[in-house]
């Protein structure tokens, strides 16, 4: 099957600082792909490229067969930023219903999305009064409403308690089984094991692009954090030998 996202030789600079250095990778459809790497490695920039809000220097990003940011993709790509981007002076329900209206979807779908992220009880609460974790989930709910074909989630599980995190990951896999492609970023390696596929990046370069099992096998360790370290060290040694 054709890949949901294809990134080819992507170069992005912000200001004078290069952020992504000719990066190429692909996201298979109907799966949960984890984008992992330390803070500042270029995860958010890469995600912004996929949703088409980032100016790129060269290379290409193809999403569901079209150039990223094409008008027709706006109905099918859902994006949740790292900082919850919803209206703090509206209730959760008012936020969800507004985003539903943008996609031409009814209030029932909005209420379903709120329930899906476990905020049914907080539906009438103003977003300002929510905890950080609840806000992140409210923001997520607004992206689930339109049942997008591709969901791009920037660190969606940060600050969530372990039980909720578990729920969210189960939901991500349920969505993937129903045909949605998910690209989920995280800087926590213990979440890597929950993904169908991993893209590990560091300093704007790909360190590994494989299944968690293959990454473990290639590095000879079960601990993905350790695997990441070994991959980085191996690459650095390689660079020392052949600069």
């Amino acid at each position: 099957m054709e890949n949901a996202v294809v990134i080819d030789e992507l170069v992005v600079t912000r200001g004078r600082r290069p952020v992504l250095h000719g990066l190429s990778c692909a996201v298979p459809p109907g799966s949960v792909t984890g984008l992992l790497g330390p803070s500042g490695s270029g995860k958010t920039t890469l995600m912004r490229c996929v949703v088409g809000v980032q100016k790129i220097r060269s290379g290409s990003v193809t999403v569901l067969g079209r150039p990223a940011g094409s008008p027709s993709l706006r109905h099918t790509v859902g994006y949740v930023t790292q900082a919850p981007s919803i209206y703090a002076d509206l209730t959760v329900r008012e936020n969800a219903r507004y985003f539903a209206s943008l996609y031409g979807v009814g209030p029932r779908e909005a209420d379903r999305a709120i329930a899906d992220v476990g905020l049914r009880q907080a539906g009438d609460q103003l977003v300002t009064t929510l905890s950080g974790g609840q806000r992140a989930r409210a923001s997520l709910a607004c992206a689930l409403i339109s049942r997008p074909g591709l969901l791009v989630l920037d660190e969606p599980t940060v600050g969530q308690d372990p039980v909720l995190r578990n729920d969210l990951w189960q939901q991500f896999h349920a969505l993937a089984e129903a045909g949605t492609t998910l690209l989920v970023s995280s800087h926590v390696m213990d979440e890597a094991g929950r993904c169908d596929r991993l893209i590990l990046i560091r300093d704007g370069r790909i360190v590994a692009d494989d299944t968690p099992a293959a990454v473990r096998a290639a590095t000879g360790t079960d601990d993905l954090d350790e695997a990441f370290l070994r991959l980085v060290l191996a690459r650095e040694n390689q660079e020392k030998v052949s600069p």
Binding site: V53, S85, Y87, F99, S101
Partner: protein, 245 residues
């Protein structure tokens, strides 16, 4: 763009306003209080209040909507909701017209309260009708909104956005003919005031206060104001970028 998305955006902005009763109170009460204050400042000269009061009925909505819009738009930018909206089917113009409609409605209520008070209790007298004055007040509000929206693109923080009020609005207020007739200013000041939108907004109100029927000058003024609104909105749309560095 779509009428449905525009109207839902208007409803969303009004809902945000409804959750902030203190701002609503300030928007309605402050102009009324200031008008009352002016009425009694010019207690011995009711003719001056007739001249200045009618201008203030247009200036209040301009200033209020300029401030409210520039801060609201800045929030859309800084909280990431703007970027998010631009990844949805919503068009830039849906957002701009959504704001224009929402704040025009808010301004209509504000103008109704202020004009009602001025005519009913403060004995404001104008040759033209109170309805025309209220209509011009709404046009001024939309003008303030459109300019506020545009300048918000150049503010990085709410502090800066608020400082744009004295920077962009006060000079216009000083030069528009409110405190001194324009033809008696230094010639170069008059020339500057000729290219400021508020000059025409205020001139239209002066026309209404002197003439029972709409004059050609008033229609020219209204045309200039509407033109400025359109230009400011188009420039504002150009500052809303889907793709940013």
């Amino acid at each position: 763009m779509s009428a449905r998305i525009t109207l839902h955006t208007t409803a969303r902005i009004l809902r945000q306003l409804r959750h902030d009763p203190r701002t609503i109170g300030l928007l309605l009460v402050v102009p009324a209080l200031l008008l009352t204050l002016m009425r009694y400042v010019f207690d011995s000269q009711p003719a001056i209040f007739d001249r200045v009061g009618v201008i203030m009925l247009g200036v209040f909505p301009f200033v209020a909507m300029f401030l409210v819009t520039s801060v609201a738009m800045l929030r859309e930018r800084t909280t990431g909701t703007l970027e998010r909206l631009l990844t949805t089917p919503a068009h830039k113009l849906d957002l701009l017209f959504g704001y224009a409609l929402a704040f025009a409605l808010a301004a209509a209520v504000q103008a109704a309260v202020a004009a009602g008070l001025a005519y009913a209790l403060l004995d404001l007298t104008t040759a033209g009708s109170a309805w025309t004055v209220a209509g011009l007040a709404i046009a001024n509000a939309v003008l303030g909104m459109a300019i506020g929206l545009l300048v918000s693109a150049f503010a990085r923080s709410e502090f800066q956005a608020v400082q744009f009020m004295p920077a962009f609005v006060l000079p216009q207020l000083l030069l528009c003919g409110l405190i001194w007739p324009r033809d008696q200013m230094a010639g170069w000041l008059e020339k500057i005031s000729n290219v400021m939108p508020m000059t025409y907004a205020v001139d239209a109100l002066i026309e209404v206060s002197h003439h029972a029927d709409a004059t050609a000058t008033m229609w020219r003024d209204v045309t200039v104001v509407v033109g400025c609104i359109v230009v400011a909105l188009l420039l504002g749309a150009a500052t809303l970028r889907r793709r940013t560095a």
